[in-house]
Amino acid sequence: MTTKLFGEPVRRREDARLITGRGRYLDDLGADALAVAFVRSPHAHARIRDIDVSAALDVEGLVAIYTWEDLPGALAEPLPLLIPHPALTHGRTAYPLAREIVRHVGEPVVMVVARDRYLAEDACSLIRVDYEMRKPVVGVEEAAEAVHLVHEDVPGNVGAHLVQEVPSADGRSAREAIEAAPHTLAFRLDVERSACMPLEGKGVYARWDADDQSLRVYSSTQSSTSVRMAIAAKLGLPLPKVEVIAPDVGGGFGVKIVHPWPEEVLIPWAARLLGREVKWTEDRREHFVSSSHERGQVQYVRVGFDDDGRVLGLDVNILHDHGAYTPYGIIVPIITATQLLGPYKIGAYRVEFSSIYTNTVQVTPYRGAGRPQGVFCMERTMDKIAAHLGLDRTEVRAANLIQPDEFPYDQGMIFQDGRPLIYDSGNYPEALRMLKELIGWDSFPEMKAAAAAEGRTIGIGLACYVEGTGVGPYEGGHVQVTSDGRVHVSTGLTSQGQGHETVFAQIAATELGVPIEKVSVVTGDTRRFGYAVGTFASRAAVMSGNAIALACRKVREKALRIAADALEADPRDLEITDGVVHVAGTPSASIPLATVAVLSNPLRYAFDEEAQRATQFAGGPSSMDRPPVEEGTEPGLEGRDYYSPIRSTFACGMHAAIVETDPLTAEIEILRYAVVHDCGRLINPMIVEGQIHGGVAQGVGGALYEKMAYDEHGQLLNASFMDFLMPYATEVPRIETAHLETPSPLNPLGIKGAGEAGVIPVSAVIAAAIEDAEGIPIDRMPISPSDLHHLRLETG
């Protein structure tokens, strides 16, 4: 049996429990917990004049009702602004329960605790909140006009304003370069709002242990370690008295990286106050109106280019709608601004964004996190240049690509981690070549002509992107071999379906030379690992994968040292195969890793037969001149290490699609979808492909179906799965994938992140293909048949 599992399509170890109904998601826990429901604002902007709970007091099973006025100490303050930035001059966050003003439909106003959720909702329906209506601010352009304000103390509704400028090699500014360019174009692009929409909403379950004066909290979160710190700070508890666990999480896609959500501090607080287990499970409507959205931007673009389509200057001005609050800072528009550059080297670049308040749900990262908008901008620009010059769209891209010998390539900007935007490795011309071959780019004109002869309209499009993955600051891993030979791996970041239990076990099994069956992995449990950042930005495999590999290497070194003593051999001559340490070439001179684990922990007491070998009279190998635990070593066969990269590693991908549009109904069908993807070395190709499939499906949703339909009053008109159209199997094309592996030189495993990749270029690809089919410029996404029909009428 081989233990070299890195790179193999190993079947997922998570699945055994998930396909038999034995997964433990948040609402599966705490069967006897009290249930929480919230009274949420029905208005987008209003002042709370009065809250009358009297009618609710008689509800059977009611336990407690809380408003902002009940909140003590730090809990009564606004929630944290997680990622401050100097350009975010007017950052604002919400209170856990609204204090005087509500700024979007869905903002929590009153918290009700009752025996079960039905009764809690009964009580909510009887609570009367008297609102004084204020003028809602809806739509980013309306908000920028600032006729009305979302926050009275934020002039112009502008939360942040940031300009980044990279001059050309000859020192010209982007605007100068555009002025001097042989060709220029100017246009506007629009991207609509969508949202992560994990099938499981958020949820929090808290147990207060009065005897121990400690709190255990389960949350459907992407960052249990940070939720823990937030709870300790908000409730004034010592950190060691708070533990937070992310159980099985039913999808995240970004929305669960935001923390602490109001509920993540309120539910633990109530549990402690009441001395009872308390649980809140978000329902779908709550998720629509009180979690996060993303994507909404308006972009104004000016570009100057030469006869070959080389971009000489690019000037982009972005209006970014960040909703009512900015708990996650301005990460999304920063990513748009920086990742917009994609795989290209352009002459001079200027990007300016204003991050604007509106009376809508807050905007925080959704898989892709600003990149889909940036890629939409750059790739629409490339297509417009090609159209203007009458060149093939792949030629224009090829003329601008960074070449393989130009790495590391410095884009001259500051990335979302506050570090330089330097691409570590890639082979973009090869990726483009592979994509053209996969989709059959060069033979498409014949295909299109043949279709036209049958009265069918088809078009082809492509889009390229570069994705900064594996952002720091760090992750850690702990690896312990116990005396039964089992390997226990833990890391602090969380899992939401990425298969971490499998890929981290593959890494540990490969590094340690043990069968994967011996390895178990725990993520997102602060009892096991307290230091972590979280799962976002396609970082888990890169960060925790490398940290676990490094921790395994420590364990391996220690195991070899102990085994060398026992076998009277040189550690350099030892190998570990199938969990047995042996002298290379001499399998008989061996000792099981389990025995090494026993010997690693000098014992006084034998608790079983195996343990006798490590007791003081067992005549072990240790010399009488040295202490049983030598200086600089620790008992136990375990190791802990951290991986902290100097900067992000940059993955790349290129997608192409062929679409057909119906001449009568304007229905849009994706006939083929091709992906070339480079995320460095693959740990598990099956899982990487799965990530790409899921990303593309979400991208198809964003390109053709999903938008948050707010009316002028700030009411979300489609806050249900009936009206917010997510793709079913009938809407997602078969995805053809090809992999290119350009290892990252930045980390020991040579890997890059893959979690977000699939979603990033889809809107740009579909827009390009529809444009090619219809001959109509497609400058806004998503596009429905009805939108396309109207575009035909306008341009007809």
Binding site: R12, A16, G21, Y25, Q498, M686, F721, T730
Partner: protein, 165 residues
């Protein structure tokens, strides 16, 4: 007012006393402790809560528990054989990476179990049609489609024995 009901769930006679408004999904999850059935939208669109009622797939979030009184229900917990042997559909999903977060999976498993009983060797189009009432946000469906075909294969291989469980 509470009502006593009797359900046969996964072959076991279960009794519960529930208010008239208790949804079948909540009854299964909270009264009977069968938390494998998940609730994703609470109004019958996502299919995560799909269970088999007298063998037919139904959305347990669209049915009151009292309505199911006297009926037979199979949930995801009841798909494997009593000895723990996975059903062909469960095996297909595990072999083909047909799930990621796993939250929608119980609904898919129940839907597909019923589908393959009706159509043991479906075409691609028939598979897509069969699962087109279930939402998955993770997989992009491609591996689910593959999993259904694989399940059909496994079912055919094991036909005559425990087939179609």
């Amino acid at each position: 007012m509470n009502h006593p009901i009797t359900l046969t769930v996964n072959g076991v006679l279960r009794e519960a006393t529930v208010p008239a408004r208790r949804l079948l999904s909540d009854c299964l999850r909270h009264d009977l402790g069968l938390t494998g059935t998940h609730v994703g939208c609470e109004h019958g669109v996502c299919g995560a809560c799909t269970v088999l009622l007298d063998g037919e797939p139904v959305r347990s979030c669209l049915m009151f528990a009292v309505t199911a009184d006297g009926h037979e229900i199979t949930t995801v917990e009841g798909l494997a054989a009593a000895d723990g042997t996975l059903s062909p559909v469960q095996r297909g999903f595990a072999e083909c990476h047909g799930l990621q977060c796993g939250f929608c999976t119980p609904g898919f498993l129940c839907t597909v179990t019923a589908f393959l009983r009706e159509n043991a060797a479906p075409t691609d189009e028939e598979v897509v049609e069969a699962i087109s009432g279930n939402l998955c946000r993770c997989t992009g469906y491609q591996n689910i489609i593959k999993a259904v075909h694989r399940a059909a294969e496994i079912q055919a291989e094991t036909q005559g024995g425990e087939a179609g469980r």
